[in-house]
Structures are given as C-alpha cells and as structure tokens.
Symmetry: C2
Subunit: 591 residues, 2 copies
C-alpha cells in the first residue's frame, strides 16, 4: 500500500517564511500564527494518513456501484466521511453565519492539499460541496442560503455541479436542459447532464445539485442560461426532507481513474428547482464556483504528484539495483539504492521542485483570493484571475507528468496496480480535463485574461517579476535565481508582444501559441515562487534558523528548477513565434 | 468502439518514396516492389481492422484469468490467433529453412506496425514468439533449432522472455534462478521470474520459455548468466508433446493496461531446460532478442499513437463545439467542429508529425538491420546499435504523450473507458518501461553507444546529417527543413562534446544529461527523417505524381515538425550543460 505523510513542514514554510500570513493585513489572518496553523495541519495530516490514505487503494479497486438507483461508495468511505465531518473539516473556511469556522481560504487550501494527496477521489465529495456552497453563498437569496448552507457546511448534504450535456461540454451555449417556471417561484427542470462527479452516493442525507438550464423564451446561447438548486430530496419548510425529487442516476461511468468518486449521468424529469441569482445570469454565478474549482483542480495536480513523489523516493532509497558510477555507495549490500543514479535523481528532482513550486503558487493564489474577497483589493482580484488558468492548466499537465515519472522510478512495479503508482497517474489524468480542458484554460489565458482591463493585470505581473529580480540584483547568492528569471520573463513578454502584433493580423497566430504560452507562464510563475522561496530560506539561515538542512535543501531544489526547467521558456517562445502557419496549413480532410 | 484503418498509403511512401527498398542491394529486397508490398499491407490491414481491432476493447475489459493453473485469454482471442496463424503472418520474415516466408525484416516491421496499432496486447503473443525465435535461431544448436523453430514460426508454440526476478530487473547480475546440469546435456531450472508477458495462455499447444539462469560455480554477477529453453511441455524425440515440465504460473498481475496479454509470475521448480549458446554467455544471446525487442517496443510507441490519432481526428471532425475565431466554418450547424480550433490543430499536428516521423525512423531502422544481417555491413550495424535506444526511449515517451494528447481531444469523453481513448494511453504506458526502462535506454545511449568503437558511429551519424543538409543547401523549398536541422544537429554535437569534456571530470555530468540527450537525438532523428521525406515528396511532385494532396500534406506536416518540435533541442542542450551539480546537490536523506 502506498505511503503518505502530510508535508506539514513545507506548508508551514509557505505560510510563514514565504507568505508571512500572520503579518498580512487581511481580516482573520492575524490568528494564523505558526503554532496555530501547525496544530491544524498536523491534525489534518493525521486524518489524512490514518483515515483517508488507507482508503485510496480501496476506492480504486472497488469503485462505486449503482444498486437499485442508489450509488454505493467503496467500503469504509461512509465511516471516513463521518469522521471528516465530525472533525469539523468540511466547514473550515465557511461563513460562521452558516456554521462554518470562518478561517481564511488560504488555510482551507493548505488543509485541502493534504486531504487530496491522501485520497483525491474521496475528497471530491467534500470539494464539490464546497464549490456549490460558494456559488450559493455568493448568489442565492437569503432564504435559499438559510435552507441549504448550514447542511452543506457540515456536508450532511453534499453538492454537485451540473454543466455538461452529452452534446456539449465547453460550448455550454448549446445546452438543452430546460427550466420551466411554475408560477410559485420554483421551476421544473428537465434534461440530461453527464460527468456529474459525486452525482449520487450513500454518504449524505441529501444531495444539492447546482444545475445550469435554459428558461424557455430567454436569450439564445450562453446568455440564456440560468442556475438552479435541485435537491435530491425536496426540503420541507421546517427543513426536514420531503419527497424524492424528479432527479435520478442514469448510470455510473467507467473511468480511467478516480474510481472512488461516482461520476454519474443525471436525468432530470421535471425536477423541482430554485433559481440561484438572476434569470439568464447563470454563467456568472457558475463562474464563482468554477474559478474556485479551477484552483482546486490545479491543487489536485500537484497534490497527487506529492503523494506519488513520496512513494517514488521511498522506492528509490529502498530498491537496490546497479552501482553508482562514481563509486559504490552501499558496499555491504548486493547493489546500491536507485537514488544514487543521476537519472533517477533528475527524475526525483523534477518531481520535488515542481511540487514545492506549485504548492507555493497555489497557496499564494488562495492568499490573493482572500485579499480580493476580504479587502476588496482589485489588483489581487485581477492577478488571481490572470493566474487561475495557469494554476489549473500548467499544474495539472505537470502534475500528471510527474505522477508518470514517479511511476517510472518503479520500473515494471510501477505498471502493475499492486504498488498504487498506476493509480496516481490514472487519477491525476482527469485534472487536465475537467473544469475546462487545459486547451480551454490556454484559450482563457491568451484570448481573455491577457487583454482583460486593457492588459493591466499582465503588465502588473511583469512588473512584479521585474521588481523581484531587481530586489536581489546585488545579492550574489541569488544569481542562480535572478538570471534565469530575467531571461524567462523577457521571453514571456516577447511572446505576449508577438500575440499583440501578429494576433492583430490573424487571431490564429495567438491561439496557435496559447498552449505554449500557458506552460511558459507556468514556468515563470514557479520561477518567481522559487526566487521568493530562496530569498526566504536565505533570510531564515541568516537569522540562524535551527533546521538548516531544510532551508539549504529548499535553496538547492530551487536552483535545480531554475537551471533545468526555466530553459523550457525559450523553446515555448520559439514555437509561439513560428505562428499559426504550420499549425493551420492542412485542410481538415488532410488529417 | 474505436476505429482503425491501416495507414498503408503512408507505409508505402516510407518503403518506396523514402527508402526505395526495391532498388536497395540487399538480398530479398528486389522482390519488394510497390505492388507486392501494397498487396501484403492491404491484406494485413484487413486482418487488423476486421479481426484484431474489434478485440482490442474486449481484451481490455475482460483481461486474462488464471483458472486451475491455466491462463484463459479474452473471448475471441484464440479464434483470432488461429486466423493470424493460418494467414501465415507469424512467419513472414522467418527463415524458410524452418517454414518461414523469408521476407525482409523491413516488411515484417511494416506489417507489425499495423497489427500493433489494431491490438497491442494481442500482438504481443506473436511478437514475443518472434523475439524468442530470433534468439534461438542465432544462438541455439541445430538440434534445438530443428525441434523448436518450425513450431514457433507458425506460432503453434509461442515464446516468452524470462529475465526479471522480484529483486532484480535492470541489474540482472543479482539473479538467483539456478540451472543445475543433469549430466545428460539438460539442466534443472529453479527460481522465480516475474513480469513474463504471454507467460501462459490457451492459444498455443506449447510455450517455449527463454530463461536466464546461473549455473552453480560459474562467474559472479552478470558474467555467470546463461540462457535456457524451458518448454511448458517437454518435447519427445519424435516432436510430440510429453509430460508437463516443472514450470507453473504463480499469478497474473493486475496492470494499468495491456490487459489482453497475460503478465505472469512464473515459478520454475526443477524444470528441464536446454542451454542456448555457450555457458555463461546468456546475456549475449539474450541481447539478440532484446535489441529486436527494443525496436519492436519503439514501434509500439508510435503504433498505438497512430490508432489513438485516427480516433482523435475522427472526433475532432465530428464533435461540434464553439466557433472558429476567424469566422464560422459550419454555418448550418449549431457549432463548428473541434478541428477548426488552433489549439486542437496544434494537438493533432503534434500527433501526426510524430507518428509519421517515427514510422520512417523505425522502418529505416529495420532496413538497417536487414542490411547489417544480410550484407554484413558494419556501418549499418553500428548505426542501428546507436539508434536502438533512441527508437525505444524517445518513441515510447512521445508515443505515450501523443496518446494522452489524443485522449485530451475528447475532453471528458476521453477519460471514460467507453471510447477507448483511455486504453490507448494505458496500453502505451508500458512501452516506456519494459525491455529496459527509458532511463536505462538513455544510459545505454550516453554511457555505451556514443563511445562505442571509438565514437565512430555517432560521428558517422553527424556526418550523415551534415551531408543531408548540404545536399539541399541550394534548394530554397527545403529551407524550412535544412535550417532547423542544422541548428539542432549543432546542438546535439555540442551536447556530445560537453559529455566528453565534463564527463571526464565527473561521469555524473554526462549521466545527469542522458535523458535529455536521448530526447534531443530523437528530435534530430525525426528531423532527419522529415528532411528526407520532404525531399522525397518534392521529387514525387516534380515527377508529376497523381496524388498531389498526399505529398503536399507530407511536406506541410514536416514543416510543422521542424518549426514546432526541433526547438526542443536548444532546451535540452541548456539543461545538459547545467551539468550534474543541481541534480546531485542533495543528500539522499533530503528527499
């Protein structure tokens, strides 16, 4: 069975050395001192290691089953869900007015990482509920909020997102699900939704579906889409559960991974629904949920990679195979451990430097969301809006790639299911697809976010990178960070400039390079994180920190990332500058 | 169910336009005129589409099962195997002295690609038999050859390779399986072997295991390993099957993919075996099999990607989602097909340009093997020995990556098992691992092949690339090929030079860059293939070829590869030149 231990030390480093959260002037942050967050993370780590991680293989092997219209989750899931619920983990960063603990989203994100690493499929039941909670909290009437939120904060009722239909995923304007007003404020929802994660299960009393549908007579396409709450069981006026609503599970999908989560086809047959927000403004409401969900998916990318990495390291230290070319390192054994071999090191360093960099970027992203929401900081809002497709797209691509690399360390033992390395790769694969396939993230980034508000957010980002480089210009120890950072950010700016100039002539020139740009920007973001982390580590060392090895390792890991990963930026730029010509040369019939 | 149609047109292009096989002065090649190979490929394509491809999903879903000590293959496999056998496909390029058809290996490779694309797991039963056939053919006594080869040529008896043991894969010197001489020329084999593909099944009368084992008293480590034939049923003097030998299936592994192939733990309990080749020279004999197997695995890399690509194209043309940013292309439909979107094009072009380039490289590789074996050309032998780890390592990494990209085109529909796109990715994943994990291929390339025979083969390769560039220097149409090729080959040479110079100081400097070098050389090889293919296509166009669109598409596809993929070489060089320092900086305890 795979091992897992929560990386609490590294999360503490991100929260306190890097972000200095308790010193930030955001309401609720003063409480986040190192002792407090340490206690929370340690406790979460215990639940993760002892309760959730042991169920990861079980979930994969058993999967979910539809029995007489009801989904059965794998053995042990329900008891574990109860434990998570009773521990108060589900409402950590929810509104105290509805029973939440009111902690910052940043802390919720750090805890979320630990849970996702331990058992991604399991954590989705809670994660989707949180997303649904956020959309209802932001857009629904006080009446609906009062009925649904308290139960969702505790996960007594869980939530889902219903967007996709058989014929439309990305292009939701094609949607056919109908919502007919009943004159009493309610609607009758009719249609079929597919790929509904946690669509049904046996771990909650009620399931609150958030469903996008069209009210007949509304505007065409995406502008005529509204958002509805459709509970599995209708809720009576006194809050008790009433009749079964007209929503049922058509089937459970057989998937490549995340078998522990029930991915359902949901059929709505005149189900009673309640409008969330305004008519025809459903996409706006859904986007609240989707942006949060996208950061959550970006988190999945590196969180699963963290778990895979821990196992790859353990195997590389344990498995004896071959001898170090520079001289035997385990003379008493029949061979040296795998970890002596340079190519195994390269592989592990790629994993480690990615995971730690992505962790910093994601928690910083959560920090920006807190700042935007709790202080109304528009610059923070603009920046996180720009970074969201990068966090989602880049981190899930790389996260999957790193799971595949972790699997590779095991050789043939990585391909058989016994050691769990295949599961990490299979689970991580979905993150590249859902909440907007990564090609759509790239389109969002290049087609929308770069130009948003006259390009001011991307300009601010470039400025931020420049300032970071300048700040360490005189510090010789930082040269291994500043120089690659400067080069990469110059390349990123050149790519953006290319889009502006050649995209004017032909928008395909920009779009054909969008995927490369997303990756390039991902490297620049991680480069920025590593530069800041190195500085924070040097500061700690200068201040005489006791765990010297931790900080020195941090700096060495960052140096690897800068030397070995930032060179990808030049490649992406060259690809981008080759334009759309070779990409679009063929007629569709020539494929 | 996934679609599959054999790419016979493109294989014909490689055989005739690119390699001009029938004009090559290799025994047996004169027969390979276009009509003949076309007939063979078309016929193979029919078997592949009609018999093998429909069983691909069946094999994945049902898998193999151990029942009372015997492995049951999925429904329909046995009948299909009979059909392949009866069609004479199994002995296409085998020695006529043993019932083979004596065709060149090049043609066998082209046919093999078609079969692998249609059903990789199924084709492994035959593929491994071919590898075992080759090792026996090259190294066994005439007596053993007479007994075993005729039945293996027809696949009435199938073959396996037994190298790995639970505690050793790459490092075979640690092997524990024993072979005790019985005084009558036979040996008693005792030990456990794992990950034995096609280790047992119900499709052949007998299974001929090639087993590596140590004869007690022999040299330590890898130098004391010998190769044995261990039949499942002992063969009587008259060729009839005798008693069950002391070999049994311990269990079948649950794997990420290739479920249709039985991956077995094989237990040898004093099983009767017969020495192949000389005592303690087992690795030499096994390498005959392994080199062929490595090219075969490199072929799997792009062959599965070909099948995945075909489906991705079909989906991209069929699925309506969004509108082209440059103006609606399907005004009568509710949306445009996916294929209008530049990022989908980028994705498909990456697949197409890789698959076609890898096809050319692999078939050329087979051509070099024919030349080496049939004419004793040492330059060809040296070149294919150099290229083998590139064909295996680079093509399987990229092949898997392309399957993942093909899956991505389907969005959520790619993640569910229904459409078969997950299977392509899961199946292709093993090719990066078996027959020497890709890190070992990189080590073989940089640590062994570059320096082999005083570096003369890699120098010849560089010379070949240079000559190719020179030959088209005056041809303005070829500039899009020659310029990137020149740059990339210069970078590759710089990397080799770096290895020589800095590897002298510390071998880790070379080994830490080995994986990057393998990929870099892969791109240069495919660049070389595309340069040659473009020239061949221009020649055909100049000669007034009738299917103009095919040749123009070929050139456009090559231009994409050169513009969009060769820039990776600069990145790899930069990574390589950063040396081992950041890779090896951490102590093992710091991971």
């Amino acid at each position: 069975m795979p091992i897992f231990a929560a990386p609490t030390r590294d999360l503490q480093f991100v929260l306190h050395d890097l972000l200095k959260v308790s010193a930030q002037d955001i309401p609720g942050y003063a409480e986040l001192d190192a002792d407090f967050t340490s206690a929370v993370l340690e406790e979460a780590g215990k639940v993760a290691s002892e309760v959730l991680a042991p169920l990861n293989t079980v979930g994969d092997t058993e999967g979910c089953h539809l029995e007489n219209g009801v989904v059965r989750t794998p053995t042990g899931f329900k008891a574990a869900f109860d434990q998570v619920r009773e521990g108060g983990w589900t409402g950590l960063d929810c509104d105290p007015d509805y029973g939440g603990q009111g902690m910052p989203y940043t802390l919720g994100t750090a805890v979320g990482e630990i849970f996702v690493s331990a058992n991604m499929a399991f954590n989705m039941y809670q994660g989707l509920t949180h997303g649904a909670y956020s959309a209802i909290h932001a857009h629904a009437s006080d009446e609906l909020k009062a009925i649904y939120l308290p139960k969702m904060v505790t996960c007594e009722w869980t939530g889902t997102m219903n967007l996709t239909e058989p014929h439309c995923g990305t292009d939701l304007g094609l949607m056919r699900t109908k919502a007919e007003p009943q004159g009493d404020g309610s609607f009758k929802i009719t249609g079929q939704k597919i790929f509904i994660s946690a669509g049904d299960h046996d771990m909650a009393e009620n399931i609150i579906h958030l469903v996008l549908a069209k009210i007949p007579g509304g505007p065409e396409g995406i502008k005529g889409v509204s958002l509805f709450i459709v509970p599995k069981f209708v809720v009576n006026a006194d809050g008790s559960l009433g009749a079964r609503n007209g929503v049922s599970v058509g089937k459970i999908e057989e998937k490549m991974g995340i078998h522990g989560n029930s991915t359902c086809v949901m059929n709505y047959d005149g189900a009673t629904g309640f409008l969330v927000g305004e008519e025809h403004k459903g996409m706006k409401a859904m986007f609240t949920m989707m942006n949060e969900a996208r950061i959550g998916v970006g988190l999945q990318g590196y969180a699963v990679a963290e778990a895979a990495y821990q196992n790859a390291v353990a195997y590389a230290k344990d498995r004896l195979q071959g001898r170090a070319v520079t001289g035997t390192e385990n003379p008493d054994g029949p061979a040296d451990p795998l970890i002596v071999h340079p190519d195994i090191r390269r592989n592990l360093m790629e994993q480690k430097s990615f995971v730690e960099g992505a962790r910093a970027l994601t928690v910083w992203g959560a920090n920006l969301i807190d700042r935007a929401h709790k202080t109304g900081d528009e610059a923070a809002e603009g920046l996180i809006s720009l970074l969201t497709p990068v966090i989602k797209g880049f981190q899930t691509d790389k996260g999957f790639e790193m799971c595949v690399q972790a699997q590779q360390v095991y050789g043939g033992h990585g391909y058989i299911e016994e050691h769990g390395m295949s599961q990490f790769a299979r689970d991580a694969r979905i993150a590249m697809i859902y909440e907007g396939a990564n090609g759509v993230q790239a389109l969002d980034l290049v087609g929308r976010k770069l130009a948003a508000d006259g390009g001011k957010h991307v300009m601010a980002f470039f400025e931020m990178v420049k300032d970071e480089c300048k700040a360490h210009a005189e510090d010789a120890r930082m040269a291994g960070f500043v120089e690659p950072m400067k080069a990469a950010s110059k390349q990123l700016q050149a790519a953006a400039m290319y889009f502006v100039q050649s995209g004017m002539k032909n928008p395909n020139n920009a779009l054909a390079g969008s995927y490369d740009f997303m990756h390039m920007m991902g490297h620049v973001c991680l480069g920025l994180m590593w530069t800041r982390m190195a500085k924070a580590a040097y500061d700690a060392l200068d201040a005489g920190a006791s765990d010297k090895n931790f900080y020195e390792t941090k700096i060495a890991t960052g140096r690897f990332y800068m030397a070995r990963q930032l060179p990808a930026c030049a490649m992406h730029l060259q690809r981008i500058e080759s334009g759309a010509e070779t990409v679009m040369a063929l007629g569709a019939e020539s494929f």
